[in-house]
Symmetry: C2
Subunit: 353 residues, 2 copies
DNA sequence: CTGAAAGCGCTAACAA
DNA sequence: TTGTTAGCGCTTTCAG
């Protein structure tokens, strides 16, 4: 008892602890920061003094000299441009409801948290917001940035490299840039989908692509097309969607009109696949018996869909963790070459195909 | 041109700007912080010097003296305990994929961003993590906390008040505590659901409640029950779920076994309602013709469900914004009474009831 | 209206 | 191994 630090008074400083322990500020600092070369007995004394005073280091003061704050920015770039979910006066941040994004955040938080680092959430969907992100970093509010872009022509990556800010992207930038990123072998994913549909015996296959200004969409499409070509199907109907359920439904409606005898569909993400399934069932097609559907991502949408979606799984949590890992490495070794890490997608067979 | 600040050199300080402008540090500081009492001409000179040097204030230095950092913690407490979505080596942060939580984040970000404040995302699902949150705040890494608890007996609110940390909760704490919060009139919501089902002509109504250690679940349930009682139905079968799709399905299965002739269901959130609908349809019941289903939240799940869910809408974004607003007010007026703001839910009629 | 000067709390040489 | 000292960059009295 009486370990209770005095309430009400201003929070104690190193100085206070030093006085109580009868040593110098420097020694307390060393103990607190776990620097060796401190007599074990004194260490103990200091630790006790820390407990008695209820001392907690002031991170602002620390950062001022170390030039590190111990937090990173998690930037969602290009979000909220179009939005199917109702307008309610807010520029609804659809992205935060996206199960895919949820996995990214989860992976990042899981990696960062044991290391005592926490992500600062930022949106960068306008020019102003992007400047805000840059200013934020320059003011030293975060040591670096993890960037998840939702569209191809995002100018933020370039801005970051030009400002010499440490950053790692989720997904390869549309134009080559000296910046680190993690990605998934989307073409291989497209191939997996094609092979599976063909192996299933599908004869009249079409695809619902993602927005084609996004490299990932292009890659999934091209990987799918070339694999189909290798199977002797040089032509595959393509409709472009925008990764939302609604766009998936609309795309499926169009495909059904133009190709009523379709028997296999590859959608570039699970949400669109879900939208496609809804339309198929409502128009009396059985899935997978009449039309097989395969998605991409393996997000929670794949599980909540009926039938559950066969899909191409991206190891999103691992990718996100790797992103964080790359950033921390870069922060520790400032003049290191940029790197990229590409993960392999896998086929997850469920009911829809 | 040549407005380009010198590259490579360490970032400029107030001192540098002062030298270029030919004034003192203090004056530059005043201009940068928009303090009046500065000669307009000098202001202009300083502004030019800022532009020339590419000056950006160092927030650590600033915080050291102002004792404010300009960021808040967004704490998700009690998350990730149980998780239906596959285990993949990660303690999957289910919460981030929850559309309800997505709306909360969106609302907070929307309110905070124009004010130049950004939330630091933290998870507090273990005792250690909770201490981490407290230490984080005490170290001055954030000025206060926005807390979203996912279960009733969360100890964090009390810890925060005892540590005198400014905080605002989403939802009333299970036990009374001198802490501000925003909430929704859940009982009224339950009543809206009951009235709608009765008005629809449902005769044999049951409910799938949320976890009963959460005040919100209790309130939705009691509001629903007492409204039903007022309609002459003193007894309503109740099955408890845990706010996930899967639990909604399981609950519906049980209800169907015990009460095969059921014709109306109120689920305490949309995800469970969605799970219930899946089971109903798979077992050959038409929704809403045979069984009417009504959810709660009006999350994106309500829209992606087929049929689309009739539901009780919580104005989550407004609630989240209000939460942020309350916190900022508290930060500006430290010795102000705690307050609570309670929002009214509304009935949104779609197809499921 | 402006400048000089005193710290905010901490780390990191450098001495001892 | 420990203590002394000099700042990190900024705000803010207090004089002028």
């Amino acid at each position: 008892m009486s370990e209770e630090p005095v309430r009400g008074s201003a929070s104690p400083t190193l100085e206070d602890v030093a006085r109580v322990a009868g040593v110098s500020r420097a020694t307390v600092s060393r103990v607190v920061n776990g620097v060796r070369n401190v007599d074990p007995e004194i260490q103990e004394t200091v630790r006790r003094a820390v407990a008695v005073t209820g001392y907690v280091p002031n991170n602002a003061a620390r950062s001022l000299v170390t030039r590190r704050v111990g937090s990173v920015a998690l930037v969602v770039s290009g979000a909220g441009e179009e939005d199917e979910i109702g307008e309610d006066g807010f520029s609804t941040r659809h992205i935060f409801g996206d199960p895919f994004f949820g996995r990214v955040v989860g992976g990042i938080v899981d990696y960062l948290r044991p290391r005592g680092i926490h992500p600062v959430l930022m949106l960068a969907d306008t020019g102003e917001a992007r400047s805000q992100v840059l200013a934020f970093l320059r003011q030293g509010n975060a040591d670096g940035a993890l960037l998840v872009s939702t569209h191809g022509e995002d100018p933020l990556p370039r801005m970051l490299t030009e400002a010499d800010q440490p950053a790692v992207l989720f997904a390869r930038p549309a134009r080559p840039l000296p910046i680190s990123y993690v990605d998934c072998a989307h073409q291989d994913g497209g191939k997996l989908a094609a092979d599976h549909l063909v192996a299933r015996g599908c004869e009249r296959v079409a695809t619902i692509a993602g927005p084609l200004d996004v490299p990932a969409s292009q890659d999934r499409l091209s990987g799918f097309q070339s694999a189909m070509a290798r199977h002797g199907r040089p032509y595959v109907p393509v409709v472009e969607g925008n990764f939302t359920i609604g766009s998936g439904s609309r795309a499926m409606e169009r495909l059904l009109v133009e190709h009523p005898d379709i028997d296999g569909v590859f959608a570039a993400n699970d949400l669109m696949a879900q939208g496609a399934v809804l339309v198929l069932r409502e128009s009396g097609h059985r899935v997978p018996d009449d039309v097989a559907v395969i998605g991409f991502d393996d997000s929670s949408a794949a599980l909540s869909c009926r039938p559950q979606l066969t899909t191409i799984r991206q190891p999103v949590e691992n990718m996100a963790a790797e992103m964080a890992s790359l950033l921390l490495t870069a922060l520790d070794q400032p003049d290191r070459r940029v790197t990229s890490v590409v993960f392999e997608p896998t086929l997850v067979v469920r009911q829809s195909a």
